[in-house]
Amino acid sequence: MKALLKTAFVLLSFLAVISCKNNTPNETNDAKVDSPSENATTESQGQAFLKDDEATPNVLDIAIGSPDHTTLVAAVQAASLENALVNTGPLMVFAPTNEAFNKLPEGTVENLLKPENKDQLAFILKHHVTPGKYDKEFLKKFKTLGQASNENVIVEVKDEDVFIGGAKIIASVPAGNGIVHVVDAVILPNN
């Protein structure tokens, strides 16, 4: 009986969370639902916060679901870019791993995550996004890609490897609204 009640309790809490489109982070935490997507930002509104368990996961879902991309996800949230990543797209996201972020000079990430550097962070993140959806093989046809930062990145092919702005594609995950290419380095814009 006790177990049953507890189950009901947890279910109710879950319902309370998913039925609130505008719920605040505090409420989320109070409800103790362990879902990273609910560890939201200050402005948790828009398509990114719409729950949908039927459709193919979008590029944001994929990043959130990956244990290797917690830094990237934290950065996306700090820059309030969630809604741009769940758009109908198509979007191609080059997703640096946590290890890739660790390769940056010490303090870089911490500095970028500060609220006063939000614009700079957003610019760097947009430099990792291309409007389009191409698999690794197809990317070999390109010499450059035009990024959402408004800058171009160079595409290089070395043997079987494809490098985007110097970052090597080490895995690829197709998404509902595009594709996520996991890369081993942060792609830094010229500006």
Partner: protein, 654 residues
Amino acid sequence: MKKIIHLITAFAFLGMLISCGNNSQNIKKKQGALGSNAAEKVYVAPGEYDEYYAFISGGFSGQLSVYGLPSGRLFKVIPVFSQDAEKAWGYNEETKPMLNTSHGFVPWDDAHHPDISQTNGVVDGRWVFINGNNTPRIAKIDLTTFETTEIIEIPNSAGNHSSSFVTENTEYVVAGTRFSVPIPQRDMPIKEYKGNFKGSLSFISVDPEDGGMDLKFQIMMPGFDYDLAHPGRGASHGWFFFSTYNTEEASTLMEVNASQNDKDFIAAVNWKKAEEYIKAGKGKMMPAKYAHNVYNEKTHTATSTMKDEVLMLDASELPGLVYLLPTPKSPHGCDVDPSGEYIVGNGKLSANLTIHSFTKMLAAIEAKKFDGEAYGIPILKFEDVLAGVVDQAGLGPLHTEFDGKGNAYTTFFISSEVVKWKLGTWEVVDRQPCYYSVGHLMIPGGNSREPFGDYVLAMNKITKDRYLPTGPEVTQSAQLYDISGDKMELLLDFPTIGEPHYAAGIRADIVMKNSKKIYKLEENEHPFAVKTEADTKVVRDGNVVHVYMTMIRSHFAPDNIEGIKVGDKVYFHVTNLEQDYDVPHGISMIGANTSELLIMPGQTETFLWEPKQVGVWPFYCTDFCSALHQEMQGYVRVSPASSTLPLSWSLGED
């Protein structure tokens, strides 16, 4: 006890559930209707009128919808390019010719960009024009009757997208082809696109008196894609600006191949120069096949005429006709500010907006500062014509409108927002999210020298969780923002028909005073009209039977008909004798392979019935017209094909 605690907990969560709408964030930020009096701002009390008409494109429905703003109430769906059984558009004999094309009867199109006629650069509310994208056509809707009264097909065009925008005295409605094609059409390899396919820009004159359209001339252009367009105004009146993409002239995998050039062009077309060239005999007549369909309000009947030639000017051969303004990243929207000085190009793969200066463009042309040419058309230097850049304003800019107070409003598809920025300083001053994936936006009077500037309407492609779900297909939407203050304020969102590609808005008082209430019976020149019940009759001509019928509250004349045979083609020509406002009647016949008729007072319409079975078959009024509407019915006796029963008809005879 434990149970009680659990119950309390459960109730607490239930409380959380039902209080979601008022969560702390909403209260703090004063979001939502109650917090900001948004409800009051869009509330139009029962019996009161809206301030604006909004003519919203029906997109793939092929139609044009008429809404009121600020309420978002839908008043009418005007059938334009698609058959509409409700209004018998394209089903009755009178309007079938309206959907005729060089490809035959085409009962659907993809309606795109409505624009309202102008006088002296100000919207005058006489007509709305809208383009059919798929089988290129331009339609004219008369705003006295709110009916489509003319449709002209555009030859040498494919994907009639950069249409249908009017010049500031409605001298022309302009239409540019999205897809370049062989001109004239011929059997050739697709791979030989480059240099061989051509684009065309069409200038359709509009008669200032009766609105009659005529395809005056076309300009032959390089084989780019022509995406959107807007006219010059004020100082730039006489010019027309078209955004282009695929200047690479690719014919396959466009998403890659049409995005190779860092810059495409805005083509600046000097149409006054075109008129000079035509006067000087520089145009060439070339064969073309296109339909011109006109609805006559007196005969209540449309006619379709097939035209066979068009006057062509070649931009490659005629200096000064066209100049190319380099514009970054496949520009989509091409919008001109109310002064006519600034031409905004929105590179849809860019984060920035590019604004060209008309004055600088003229100076560069004057100084002959060209940066090469494309097929003989001079390319100006980007830096020489650039007025400014709105830097990193959002992701995926599409379209821009203006409030007439020095501000511009641009939609961003990928970042799903409307961004307000200042002309001249190019600084972003406000941004508001759209729910979701906004395409066009509209400020009433936007494409004119004097926008009204109270509201902006953003039109969204995706609504997901915004409304009660209706299965996989959910509505698209429009969102209304108050722009009278420094910051935009979202007031309302409402569903639209089809996909709302652009809209045109105008102050209601300009239009409503001209709205017709009835068609005068004495002016009805329909060849099968009858104006009194005494004149009603049924006439046989071989197996074709014409029924001259009238309708008035609450009967048809005649309402009993005998002598019809299986295999006959029976035309019911029905005249509504009413001369009161808002008393239409409808009619439909059992088994008729067509729609009902919905006939306005004083109007005549015709439907065809081909009886296939012997029997006595009823017809009835389909519009609840009066207290005795249910009595408004009749019978037709159908005899075998071999029958010799003579025709007879009657009303009220025993």
